[in-house]
């Protein structure tokens, strides 16, 4: 690139992914042997940034003995009328990309755990000062981010100074993460989809939003954004959110459209925040299963590592067979543990107000995110073993689901309809109405002839269903 004529080595995207072997390295910055290291981007006021400035605090490359490992802090400070603090994370991520463009420079990881190496060959060619690295960074930032009006780069190699700033950087990362956790589905224009699991579940499409992690727990909205940018046609892709059709259940026109495409028409609608109706599909990899417990009209959540029998008498593996495969199964819902920390967790079904049981291990991981008024009302495997015990526990604790029991019991008595895919779970009235909507129903006990009723796209409200054997009296 001609913009790097004064840099002693080549600079270009071709060198991204270059590794410097220990035998070929001149110096190592950070890495496993060095405790204090970091990189940080800050948005500053214009008067705080000297445009094009490169500051080195501590020894420069040429002052460092060959073959040694030293601490390094990299601080990129930018200013611009349209720059906001929210962009710091994105700008910081580019330090990795841009420094890797330098032929003979390796950069791994991020934040407080960076690992860089400079090759002997680059040093021999004259890359003997961090000034060169600073120039490359400044030029690439300006080329890629026109909104950056001023930029200065500081390299810190002085061990004491790196240590001091390291602790400051940690606080900034923490504050940034806290803000990220506060990001809401309403606050973004696009979600991300993932079809990595389609080899197991061909109709499964994970919809990853700021408030709904991927089912496997591996991919946050931020990971989705990063992956889709690197490889837009890859298995992790953008989903323009479109119009919000139903804020409570979490239905978005853009999600419906993309999921329909990517599931090859198998899934037409998705409600992100519910376990009923059009729940998010489940692959095979979910970290946990939300399962409906009809006897108490509440949800249990069991995770993959739970080897015992859940409160409903079923093992994780048994329920996983019912849940997975890329289908929309009422009352069985694959989720990540992280989603349990989200305010959108089963929002349409009442959220934590409806959760009655989870293994102690899960409870411990998420308890800080359970609304305080329900926190001591959720039973664990240590509290109860059976549904009967659960019922007593919930009554004793005054769990909100208890209020739902009486009216439901009175109305529902004669119903005995089985929904396909719900594996014989008798659902209470409200939930059943949701099941019937757009879902085929079979196994309805009818005449001795026996036939299958399929209801498509029908909306049914049932006050009372009476089924009698044909020919019987009264």
């Amino acid at each position: 690139m001609s913009m790097f004529q004064d840099i002693p080595v080549d600079v270009g995207i071709a060198y991204e992914g270059e590794r410097i072997r220990r035998a070929e390295m001149y110096v190592e910055f950070g890495g496993p042997d060095i405790k204090f290291k970091f990189e940080l981007a800050r948005v500053r006021r214009p008067e705080e940034v000297k445009d094009g400035g490169i500051i080195i605090i501590g020894p420069d490359i040429k002052d460092i003995p060959e073959g040694s490992s030293v601490p390094l802090g990299m601080l990129v400070e930018v200013a611009g009328s349209q720059l906001e603090e929210e962009l710091e994370g994105i700008i910081e991520r580019h330090i990795h990309e841009f420094t890797n463009y330098v032929h003979g420079f390796m950069h791994l990881n991020q934040r407080y755990d960076i690992w860089c190496r400079l090759s002997k060959e680059a040093f021999k060619k004259g890359f003997n000062s961090l000034i060169h690295l600073g120039k490359v960074l400044i030029r690439l930032y300006k080329a890629d981010f026109p909104i950056i009006e001023k930029i200065q780069v500081t390299f810190i190699t002085d061990p004491k100074e790196v240590e001091r700033m390291y602790y400051e950087a940690l606080k900034i990362y923490e504050a940034r993460d806290a803000k990220a956790r506060g990001l809401k589905d309403e606050g973004v224009d696009e979600f991300y989809g993932c079809t990595l699991c389609q080899s197991f579940a061909p109709t499964h499409v994970c919809v990853i939003t700021p408030q709904r992690y991927s089912n496997c727990g591996a991919i946050s909205w931020f990971d989705g954004r990063a992956a889709s940018k690197v490889d837009p046609k890859g298995p992790i892709f953008r989903i323009p959110k479109g119009e919000c059709v139903d804020p409570m259940r979490g239905e978005y026109s853009g999600v419906n459209k993309v999921v329909q495409e990517k599931s090859l028409g198998a899934i037409k609608r998705v409600h992100l925040y519910t376990a009923f109706g059009y729940p998010h599909t489940s692959c095979g990899c979910f970290e946990a299963i939300v399962f409906y417990i009809p006897e108490v009209d509440g949800f249990g959540v069991v995770h993959r590592d739970f080897k015992g029998v859940a409160v409903n008498g079923l093992k994780f593996s048994t329920m996983a067979d019912t849940t997975g495969g890329g289908r929309q199964v009422d009352g069985f819902h694959g989720i990540s543990i992280e989603y349990m920390r989200s305010p959108k967790f089963l929002m349409a079904d009442g959220g934590w107000e409806r959760v009655v049981w989870t293994p102690k291990a899960v409870y411990e991981r998420v308890k800080d995110f359970i609304p305080e008024k329900f926190r001591d009302k959720v039973a664990t495997d240590e509290d109860v073993k059976t549904v009967d015990e659960l019922r007593e526990f919930l009554k004793a604790k005054g769990h909100p689901v208890v209020d739902r029991w009486k009216p439901v019991e009175a109305e529902v008595k004669p119903i005995e309809v089985k929904a396909e895919g719900a594996t014989g779970v008798a659902l209470p009235q409200q939930a059943q109405a949701a099941v019937l909507e757009g879902v085929s129903v079979s196994g309805v006990p009818t005449t001795s002839v026996g036939f299958k009723i399929t209801l498509k796209g029908a909306k049914i409200n049932i006050d009372k269903v009476i089924i009698r054997r044909s020919g019987s009296t009264s």
């Binding site: 791994l108 990881n109 755990d113 090759s119 940034r176 496997c216 990971d223 993959r304």
Partner: protein
């Protein structure tokens, strides 16, 4: 490394496969020794066999395997509260950390495969990380497990030469045959496939060659039994230090010459 970076056509990927017990790791390490002594190429040695024998044969104590990194990633990073980090970069750094670096070659032990749960994400990340890493070396030698699963799972790169190691047993030849038959089913190309007959006593070379022919396989060379190999193994010495005039090393060097690796 700058010498070769970006020049794809010069890079060679060698994989050594075969039935367990035929001496895959021994042959792979002797190929490594040949390349170290006869060339100036940079080499990545990948122990892709879950039993992780190569570090023992090379006498390089490993810190961790890639499989262990994957497990650790799933146990710790997935529950991270750091929302703003790019997880693939963490895996990349951890893989670099388990890479055992020595002056002439680097060693990466893959370790055992997956436990329960979802590996889709970490596997997809890992494939690209390993391919990126491999592209930094002139030569990659992969010590494979018996099947071809690893090729499908962990790399998108074509294999230039696959050596299938066989021994006097008929079973080892049947395994070799099955490997050959599986090749069209894996998604990467395997350009050349050769049989190396290992531990074949002198005097039986010709009859062995015709037996290999019966299986419709191409024999590239024979390695005689070598007491020195056992001796090194018993003493726990690196097989790289086996004397240059050992018959096994000379045989492997010859094979490398035949396929133009040196």
């Amino acid at each position: 490394m700058g010498r070769s970076f970006g020049r794809l056509e010069d890079r060679v990927i060698i994989s050594v496969a075969g039935k367990g017990g035929t001496g895959k790791t021994t042959i792979a390490v002797l190929i490594l020794k040949t390349l170290i002594e006869e060339t100036s190429k940079t080499i990545l040695f990948v122990d892709a066999d879950p039993s992780t024998n190569a570090p023992v044969v090379l006498n390089i104590p490993i810190k961790k395997t890639v499989g262990e990194v994957v497990e650790e990633f799933r146990k710790t990073v997935l529950d991270t509260t750091e929302l703003g980090v790019d997880k693939s970069r963490i895996v990349e750094k951890w893989v670099m950390e388990v890479l055992m670096e020595s002056p002439r070659f680097d060693l990466l032990a893959m370790g055992r495969g997956e436990g329960e749960g979802c590996y889709c994400y970490v596997n997809s990340v890992l494939t690209s990380i390993l391919d990126k890493l491999a592209s930094n070396y002139d030569v990659v030698i992969m010590d494979m497990e018996a099947g071809l699963e690893h090729i499908s799972r962990r790399t998108e790169r074509d294999v230039d030469i696959m050596f299938v190691v066989t021994d006097p047993s008929r079973m080892s030849l049947e395994t070799a045959k099955r490997i050959k038959e599986l090749i069209p089913e894996v998604h990467v190309e395997i350009r050349r496939l050769y049989i190396i007959g290992n531990k074949i006593p002198h005097g039986e070379f010709e009859s062995y060659a015709s037996k290999v022919g019966e299986f419709d396989l191409q024999l590239i060379g024979i390695v005689p039994p070598d007491p020195e190999i056992l001796n090194f193994s018993v003493k726990g010495l690196s097989l790289l230090n086996i004397p240059d005039n050992s018959p096994s090393y000379e045989a492997v060097k010859n094979i490398c010459r035949k396929v133009r690796l040196i």
